[in-house]
Symmetry: C2
Subunit: 207 residues, 2 copies
Amino acid sequence: MRIPKHIGIIPDGNRRWAVENGLEKKDGYDRGLNPGLELYKLCKEMGVKEISYYGFTVDNTKRPTEQRLSFTNACVDAVKLLSGEDAELLVLGNADSKMFPEELLPYTKRRTFGKGGMKLNFLVNYSWEWDTGFAKNNLMGPLQSQEVSRVDLVIRWGGRKRLSGFLPLQSVYSDFYFIDDFWPDFKKEHLEEAIGWYSKQEISLGG
Amino acid sequence: MRIPKHIGIIPDGNRRWAVENGLEKKDGYDRGLNPGLELYKLCKEMGVKEISYYGFTVDNTKRPTEQRLSFTNACVDAVKLLSGEDAELLVLGNADSKMFPEELLPYTKRRTFGKGGMKLNFLVNYSWEWDTGFAKNNLMGPLQSQEVSRVDLVIRWGGRKRLSGFLPLQSVYSDFYFIDDFWPDFKKEHLEEAIGWYSKQEISLGG
């Protein structure tokens, strides 16, 4: 089976999951932690070399404060959780903003935990404009995400079929796999089906 | 019904259509002309304001010469065909290369035909690297495609689920709709289903 080297994860649907389960919207994010850890472990077993995980964006921070605090805490907890595994962690996003959690500043350069071996990129207070220096149709300077390689497969949970600003230049040739279930309802079959589908796609890179 | 202002069209599957119909690969491109005209007319009726049509890319020009000549001719013919309609035509791509057809040089600045009214962008000898000035993880200067607005809906024929370098910065928030049929088998129901689906999607632009 052809295994993607680099998978992008868009873990959408936390708030809708919370509402469907009689909780407040803000209480959905916490339920995304275990899925994230399980996904990491499954990918490691399969031989995936890199995962980019869409934490939150600059746009997301305009949501009500209690939601913002909740998804920010979930990202901090996720990074702490994964730093207990074998991983090379990088947190990528606009760290000059006060929306960027201080606890994650030490991770803005890639750090190796345990035996390393898998690159894990967490997008935190990320925006594609920040990444590309995009302003008024001008682009400027080095890509902020230059440390992140081309993404082979993007998997999005939560039923929407869009990238929502996720790593636009790394995703130019990615295959997209969309899952209707909400991210907190992650199960290993989702990943297996996504990889099974990916392995049957023809790679052309435009050629 | 919520109609997308700007639709991106990835008309894939011409070669596979040709092979399935007992023709040579190069003979598939010609069969994409009528679908393109029909799609334009349907979009105009629906009130779509702008269409971006993926003609061919710099990568595509590495294919065998007879295929290259065939898709290049099909693009020239498509632009000529559409210049007989009410449209504001722009051909966008690397015109400094000899792979760019001379006949299309007059269209590299937007020109109005008939009563104008709908913007039609044709990507011809386009590449996302050329568009963004991307080299070695650096980006430089104005976007070559700055004349092209944000894309609301990308429709791709031919079964693949990827952007293949199509306008990466205009597509950051686009909804994606994928159709298994090959482009030469275009029928109006494809477009109607795509727009029907789009009109039910929630717009969030990351908020």
